[in-house]
Amino acid sequence: MRELITLHVNGESHEIAVLAHHTLLEVLREDLGLIGTKHGCELGECGACTVLIDGLPALACLVLPLEVQESEITTIEGAEANGKLHPLQETFAELGAAQCGYCTPGILLSGIALLRDHPQPTRAQMQEALAGNLCRCTGYTKIYEAVEAAAQRMARSGGA
């Protein structure tokens, strides 16, 4: 049984008919084609499907679209504006923080939320903010370095 709902994603409104039990993760990927949101467990364990709901990191695999019709949802596709990358996307690329890249969209969104709340985050704050996002490639080292570099870049340009 499908329900007609409206989702606000990356500044665009989508009226779509969804199966009520399908998760936001499934709807983003399969109904809206936003495949940048990844899945690694479908059980809220890995953080690969992290999106921002009204600016706060949330696991799309644990959210039903019906619940978030009033919210603004940001996926990795919405992190850039007209081809201009968020500074954290730039530093992730420049500093090798994305190896296989599969956890990267989720970590970027958690990191973007962190940088908004803590423009100069400490390592401890990074560890806390990213604790729900597993990465198997990097050992997290280059991720921290990229967050620090992005913080500096944003401070220089007066925030993003």
Partner: protein, 859 residues
């Protein structure tokens, strides 16, 4: 007594050359696709009319299949096809010597999760219902869940591949004079160790899309394309073709971006074959995406290994002989297990000089998900055992553990007692680096003054003990032999230049996140004098790209890199030939860089790259080149089994770990890892450091938390919540030190970095735990319960029990395979020639073949 043999050192001294691209930190060429969500992984592929598939898996660890009734599932609206073992009756397996898998079980199931049936349906919701409607009648058999159970019950044969009982493979070797070596020792020690199995847990679950395109005029009936998250499209190509009984010409396997592998995506898998067969039946694309639980069931992860090691040393710590036994818990099928078995023994000789060495290995079938290769493939467990064992010996003899290692370092350009050719080796430099950076001697000298090394810890009391440990290791830069033996190249690269200046590089190499695609771009860019971002790359496609065997055995940079150099140099020669005439400059003076071909003594005399291409195309026709690489032949001994272990080069790594142990809770906190890695020459130091950090991280996880847990045949923790792996809150600080002493045969001197640096992290941590609490935990992972048990046992015996006992495995007597004795003198005549042999690169261009990299000095 036979000795380690010294090879002739390279006749051309290596030096740090100046490169434009090589050695410079820079983004991966596909980094921006990965940070914007544009990179396509297998599950991101959505094709018109695509439907979904899923596997029905066995709920029993060991059972006979009495009947399967699929009729009710087939009758469910939306179900398009149901297949069972009868539909795919051809055996396969990654190794030609272990063809023991069916895509769907035929007569028996051998582990909980063994695939039994596959369904295709219009949407995933229907699949759930359909799987419940497949009725399978089983006769449950007793399950054998450990090495010792498998040995104790030969009558309960799990897999017919086993020669006797449940022994899949047994090997036995003696190199040099082992008894004489022990007799010459001043001190001999024996230890048992156990290394629990663990999973790769890549973030991306296995996924694939298969698409059969019927073609009635083709006698074969059509062509098949499979996109799969695989590290080895080449081997998947072979096995899918075989099981589906299709000529390889009609099967195309593509690996899109792969979301991590670590060895777990190196086998051909049931879900890949079933997706192909379902697609062929219904002539629609079929996608199968595994759940996280299925990733744990696909497994092919680290083998649990029980090990016994006996080593003789002189009073000064010099090794005289080693006898090593390994018992591998292989799970239900062969996978790479025969190779793994050899790997538990082959590389003991490559880190330290061993004048005599005996190795006996045995792999057992059990009713668990099949084990296979995980980062460090088969060498990780023995490296842990040997490094912990040597630490005990150092302690027993009162020798500094660093010094004991230093006294036994293998020399560069030697041949080991088991016949392996070692070329460049910076192990000593690695050891110096971690000792210095970690402040090893300050730490240990200050320790006694700190009265038992008490340090305030998280509990705020003296329960926290701090310690520091060290370990060293070595690893192959690519397997010296392909999985199915042949004389073909292991890796090939083709390059096409178009008159618009476009450069397209084609290579089968599969980027699983390590950056192999970028490495190809850097190398071709260096050779052609352009920027890496200029280049288009087509990779990991068995139809479009020339072969690369796959992303396993740390082989890609070395082998595909050498192939890329060979291919690019042929094109550069053509460009230089026309540029020399056009610029009226001797060809020897030409250089390529900055997008031009120029005179090095007058850089203003230059020809733009695109113009050079036009001139060259006018002269030679369309510009296409190919280069290929196969390892040198004489890098191993001439005994049966000598094919596992040889490599064109070895990387070396050392690690110092600093830990605190809470003696009240048993928790081990790793505070910092210092990791030095001998990479020869970084192609891109940013990516190399990333590999070293990732390896250190993964080793840390294996050392203290990661493990497979089974109860009554069931995997008890097949989820990322219950299977503990390190989060940001756990992972220690990692300091990476890259040692760059170029290897003569590596591309620009480069060696591997993807696997080697995992190995020393585990024993370094284990040795640090001992340094902290004075008690050995001879078992990995070192979890709090084991620490507390060991401490309690020590207290109960007033210190007499220095470690928890690993119950020795009763080996069959006699060892169930013939002992192969081999003396390195047997190939003495061939040794010196081999040292002079460069990479065996060939270029093929317009029908001509010639050696691209001179095999100088072969006499």
């Amino acid at each position: 007594m036979s000795k380690q043999q010294t090879l002739i050192a390279p006749d051309v001294p290596v030096s740090h050359a100046t490169y434009r691209v090589i050695g410079t930190p820079r983004p991966k060429v596909d980094a921006y696709a990965r940070v914007t969500g544009r990179a396509l992984y297998a599950d991101d592929i959505m094709l018109p009319r695509m439907v979904y598939g899923r596997l029905l898996r066995s709920p029993h660890a060991h059972a006979r299949i009495l009947s399967i009734d699929t009729s009710r599932a087939l009758a469910l609206p939306g179900v398009l096809a149901v297949i069972t073992g009868e539909d795919l009756p051809r055996k396969y397996g990654i190794l030609p010597s272990s063809q023991d898998e069916y895509a769907l079980a035929m007569e028996k199931v051998r582990y909980v999760g063994d695939p039994v049936a596959a369904v295709a349906a219009l949407d995933p919701d229907i699949l759930d219902e359909a799987l419940k409607l497949v009725h399978v009648e089983y006769e449950v058999l007793p399950a054998l869940m450990s090495i010792d159970e498998a040995l104790a019950h030969p009558e309960n044969k799990i897999n017919d591949e086993a020669r006797t009982g449940n022994i899949h493979k047994a090997v036995s070797y003696e190199f040099g004079e082992v008894e004489a070596g022990f007799a010459a020792a001043d001190y001999v020690r024996e230890d048992w160790f156990y290394y629990e199995g663990n999973n790769h847990a890549p973030m991306e679950e296995h996924a694939c899309v298969a698409s059969w395109e019927p073609h009635p005029a083709d006698p074969v009936g059509g062509k098949l394309t499979l996109w799969s998250s695989t590290q080895t499209p080449h081997y998947v190509h072979r096995e899918v073709s075989k099981v589906l009984n299709l000529p390889r010409s009609h099967v195309r396997v593509i690996a899109p971006n792969v979301g991590g592998g670590f060895g777990g995506k190196s086998d051909p898998f049931s879900h890949e074959i079933c997706a192909c067969e379902l697609s062929r039946r219904i002539a629609r694309p079929v996608k199968i995406t595994c759940t996280r639980e299925e990733v744990f069931l696909n497994h092919r992860g680290r083998h649990p290994v029980k090990m016994w090691v006996k080593t003789g040393v002189k009073q000064d710590g010099t090794l005289t002989a080693m006898h090593f036994r390994s018992f591998l818990d292989g799970g239900a099928y062969g996978s790479y297990g025969i190779a793994t078995t050899y790997y538990t023994g082959a590389l003991q000789t490559v880190t330290y000089t061993l004048p005599a060495y005996k190795f006996e290995g045995m792999r057992l079938f059990t009713n668990k998900p099949p084990c296979g290769p995980k980062r460090g493939h088969g060498t990780t467990q023995p490296r842990y055992a040997v490094e912990a064992h040597l630490d005990k010996i150092a302690h027993d003899l009162g020798i500094d553990p660093v010094e004991l290692r230093r006294r036994n370092l293998i020399e560069p350009y030697t041949r080991t007692v088991n016949g392996l050719r070692v070329t460049s080796c910076a192990l000593g430099e690695c050891l110096d680096a971690v000792v210095e950076r970690s402040g090893w001697y300050d730490f240990h000298d200050g320790k006694s003054a700190m009265n038992g090394n008490a340090a305030p810890g998280k509990t705020g009391n003296a329960a926290m003990k701090r310690g520091m440990g060290i370990a060293a290791s070595s690893y192959i830069c690519g397997a010296g032999k392909p999985i199915y033996w042949n004389d073909l190249p292991h890796s090939a690269v083709q390059i096409r230049l178009d008159r618009g200046g476009g450069v397209t590089v084609y290579c089968g190499a599969t980027d699983i996140g390590q950056g192999s695609t970028s490495v190809l771009a850097y190398i071709v860019a260096e050779e052609l004098g352009i920027e890496p971002e200029h280049i288009h790359l087509e990779t990991a496609d068995t139809t479009l790209t020339p072969v690369d065997l796959g992303s396993y055995s740390s082989r890609v940079t070395f082998m595909a890199g050498n192939a890329a150099i060979a291919a690019a140099r042929r094109l550069r020669e053509q460009l230089f030939e026309v540029a020399a005439e056009h610029l009226r400059v001797p060809v020897e003076r030409l250089q390529a860089g900055g997008g031009v071909v120029y005179d090095e003594s007058d850089p203003g005399t230059a020809l733009p790259f695109v113009q050079a291409i036009e001139l060259a195309e006018a002269r030679f026709g369309a510009l296409v080149s190919s280069g290929s690489y196969a390892p040198p032949e004489d890098i191993h001994g001439d005994y049966k089994g000598a094919g596992v272990g040889p490599s064109p080069a070895y990387s070396y790594s050392t690690c110092v770990a600093q830990v605190t142990v809470d003696v009240e809770t048993g928790e081990v906190v790793v505070e910092k890892l210092w990791m030095a890695h001998d990479v020869g020459q970084s192609i891109n130091p940013l990516l190399v450091a990333g590999q070293v950090e990732g390896g250190a991280y993964m080793g840390y996880g294996e050392a203290v938390m990661e493990q497979q847990v089974f109860r009554k045949g069931l995997h008890k923790i097949p989820s990322l919540l219950d299977y503990k792996l390190p989060t940001t809150l756990d992972t220690p600080e990692i300091e990476t030190i890259l040692i760059e002493i170029p290897d003569r045969e590596g591309p620009f001197g480069g060696k591997e970095a993807g696997q080697g640096p995992l190995n020393p992290a585990i024993p370094a941590i284990a040795n640090a735990v001992y340094d902290a609490i004075g008690v050995r935990i001879d078992e990995v992972p070192i979890t709090p319960d084991k620490v507390l048990r060991a401490l309690k046992a020590t207290q109960a015996t007033a210190g007499a029990a220095t470690r928890p006992q690993i119950a020795p495995t009763q080996a069959p007597s006699p060892w169930p395979t013939r002992l192969i004795r081999w003396q390195p003198e047997a190939i003495d005549g061939g040794l010196k020639a081999a040292t002079h042999q460069n990479g065996d690169g060939h270029i093929q261009n317009e029908g001509t073949t010639f050696s691209a990299m001179a095999k100088g000095g072969q006499s």
